[in-house]
Structure formats: structure tokens, C-alpha cells
Amino acid sequence: MAFDLKYEAVRRIPNPMVKINPMKNGTGKIVNLQDRVDKLNKNAAWKKTIKTWVEAGKTVEVDRIPKWILEELGLLNIAEDVQRELDEKHCANRIAPVGVFDPALMQPALCIKTSKGKYISINSQHTVSTIAGLIDAGLVPGVTDWRKFKFPFYYVETDSLAFARRAFGIFNGKGSKKQSQYMQLRNAVYIVRIDKETSDPDEVAKERKVSIAEKHECFPVELNSDFIKYPGTFTNISTFEGLTDDEIDMSCAWHNKYFHYEGVHVSLFFIYRDFVRKFKPAKCKVTPQLEEELAALIQNLFGSLSQFAESCKKVWRLYTDAKFGYEDDWNDDIYAEALLQLYKKFGGAEKIPKAILDTHDDLVEFFDDDILNLADNNVLSVSNN
């Protein structure tokens, strides 16, 4: 049986992301706080929250807002059953390395102040331990005793250790809005592109990866942002960052050549990761013919890579249930395995590594009948016109 699915070209229209890509240049826009207040006041969730305050007759207790003071580090105490054990390696390898440490990045000591005037740390013990240690090592000119070194304390007056415990949880995750993977990537890219700062090889590598994707009109964007409606956008930043330059170049080139009208589904990255890493040891090549035929297969059988991926998830559930008697956890290797098994079932002739084809050797039989029947009948049952 010969492979006779054909890829049909889709008319390309200019992608707006080329011009509005937020990674390309910062907006340079600086807004005042009024802008943010205006946004809150227009937001439905915010309005509901305000309504509950009014209905409960509650107002903000201004006295509870933390106060700040420059205070001697020697006055700070650490309650070990509130904070974690000191992680010395975190201080040595993450905060204090000579090329990393920047006093300007230190956060104030967050603490409670008891009615007896005792300061008890509720966060930032690693920061204050590091600066005290650096003073102790004689590395802070003009300061010989870390105990007398005045450091910003940000404190709440209370005797409640329960408050301290709760506050520690909030400052360390629960209740705080973490920086997204996208924001971290964007910061790295801006540091290289806008600030022209190239001293951090990790930031340079991230910018290079984004540039490779952009060359093929593929764009990382924030999850749930307004940009995801545009073609070529993707949100799975951690998977993208885990790819090599070659893997990004090949996957994004394929997307832009064949599916330029769609968003990038993350399965694309896993598929090309496995192509690059598993074809070479098997002395196989990802040939232009293979890439075109795989595009034809996706287009004809699934319409889109996202629908292929959804089908793969179902196939894996059925496969593991039949083989093991239970539904096993998802495995990202399945995308490439299922795609190339389908390729062979439809008569694909290009050489494929056995390591991909044979790991789960009859996965393909678990695709829906309306897909498999197309291979058996070698015909597409519904005409497009």
C-alpha cells in the first residue's frame, strides 16, 4: 500500500503577531496607579468582592498595615518552628555567588514585633543570614560586626505565632501571585534585547531560542492572554525552553510551512524532540518527504495537531486499559510513536527508528474506527466540496 494522502496548501495571510509580538520590543509604556485602579473598577470579579465587603460592613484596619524600620540585624530572631531550617547551600549557591549577589536585590527582613519588643522573622532568613555571613567574612567594607548592621525590617506588631506561621505560608507561595514561566522568559529576552545586557549565558540562550521561533513566525505568549487567538502562538514555555536550538528550528519551520494558520500545539515540540533525539542514533533522517507526508496525514485525518493530540490521549487510555487493566498516566513520547505508527499504517515508506515504532507496538490500532477505516478503504469518505 502506497502512501497517497496529499497535503493541500492553505492560503497564507499576514500574521498580526509579526507586528504586535510583545517579545519583540517592550512597549516602553509606564502607567500610574490610577490606570490599575481603573482596571479593577471595571472588573466583574473585583466588583463582586467589593460588594461582599460592603454587605459585611467591613473596612480596612489601617493600623494592621506593616511598618518598617532600619534595625540592627543582631535583634532579629528566627523561630525554627515557623521558618524552615536554614538551607546553607541555598545561601552559598543561589544568593551569594560572586557573579550573582547584588545588594540591590535583597528583600527586607519580614518579621513580627512582639509586645516585649522582640523581632521574630517570618520570612527572608536566607537573605539576612547571607548578608550577615558576608559581613562576618569581612566582605562588607566599613562594617565589622553584623550584629550592629542596620537593615530594613518590615514588621507587624503581634504576639501571635499563629499569625507568623500563616504569614510565612503566604509569603512563600500560598496567596502570592507567582511570576509565570512566560514572564520569566520575557524578562530574560528583554534584558538581552532592550537592555543589551548579555552577561548571563542563560538569558542569552533563551533570547536565541525565542529568535529562532520568531524566524518561523512562532511566538511564545502568556497563558490565557488575548494573543492566543493568533496563529503561531504557544503557551507551554517550559517545554519550549527544554528543546535544543535545532529542535526549535525544525519544529517551528514545519509548523510555519504547513500549519501557519493554527496556534502551535505543544505536541509539536515533543514530536520534534523525539525526532531529533531518536533518529540520529538509528541512522535515520527526518527527510523533507517525511515532513510533507506527516503534514498530509495530520491535515487529512485530524485537521489539526491539537486534534491529533486529543486523539492520542484517548488512544493511550484505551491502550493502557487493554494492556495493563488500568489507565496509565500520560506519556509525552506517545505523540511521536502514534504519529509514526499511523504513518506506517497509511503506507509511509520513509525509514523510521524502531525505537519509536516498537516501544508500544500496536498503539495505532486504538485510534477511532473512522480514522482507521480511511487506511483500510484508502479513501476519504466526505468530500470537501
Binding site: E8, V10, R11, A44, A45, I228, K229, Y230, P231, Y261, E262, G263, Q299, N300, L301, F302, G303, S304, S306, Q307, F308, E310, S311, D368, D370, I371, L380, S381, V382, S383, N384, N385
Partner: protein
Amino acid sequence: MYYLYLITSLRGRAGFGITSDYKERNQQYASHSGDIVKFSYIYGGLSTHAKTVESTIKRQYIDNIWMVDDWKTEWLKDGISMSDLKSYVDDLVNNRHYRIQVVAEDYDFTQGMLDNNQ
């Protein structure tokens, strides 16, 4: 066979959805709304292609989706007509070679299953 339907609400709002059983789905709309509701158009074809078209509407036609607070409905906002939606879907199907086609117009469940697409 799988179906993408375009629906017109009783007050004229255009909407969309997918189903493997258009008769049962239409009957559910009637049950919830207390009246006969029309599927203005039903497209039939490969399940994967019908699902792709639906997800494309949700993702790329998002500016025309009726939002209730942060809830993205499967209905279009005021001012977007059934004609607009039909035209958008037809363009998708034709330009992107999706293998679905119109199999019924102005359908409601009282017509039963249609002979030509069972």
C-alpha cells in the same frame, strides 16, 4: 459521522456546538428552552475535523464570542449574525480543507434522523 451544528436561539442569537447525535442534542435544547429550537445548519464529517472547526471558532473567533463576565459561552455576541457565523465556518472549511459539509438546514428534532447522514 460527527456533527458541527450552528444554532439560532429563540431570540435570534447565533451559537454553535458539536455532537455525535444531533437529534438528541436538539431535543436537549428544546427541553431547556421550552420551545422548538432550530439548528440552522448541520455540518457532518470526520469527528476530528468537526472538533477542529469548533475549537478554531472558540480560539480564533473569540472576539465575536458572547462573554458573561469571564465565562466564554458557545454563543456569539449581539450584532454577529448567523450569516456571519456561517460565512466564517464556510471559509474555514473551504480554505483549510476540513472534511465536513452541510448535511441539513433548519433542522429540529421533530424531523427525526435524516436519511442521508445516518
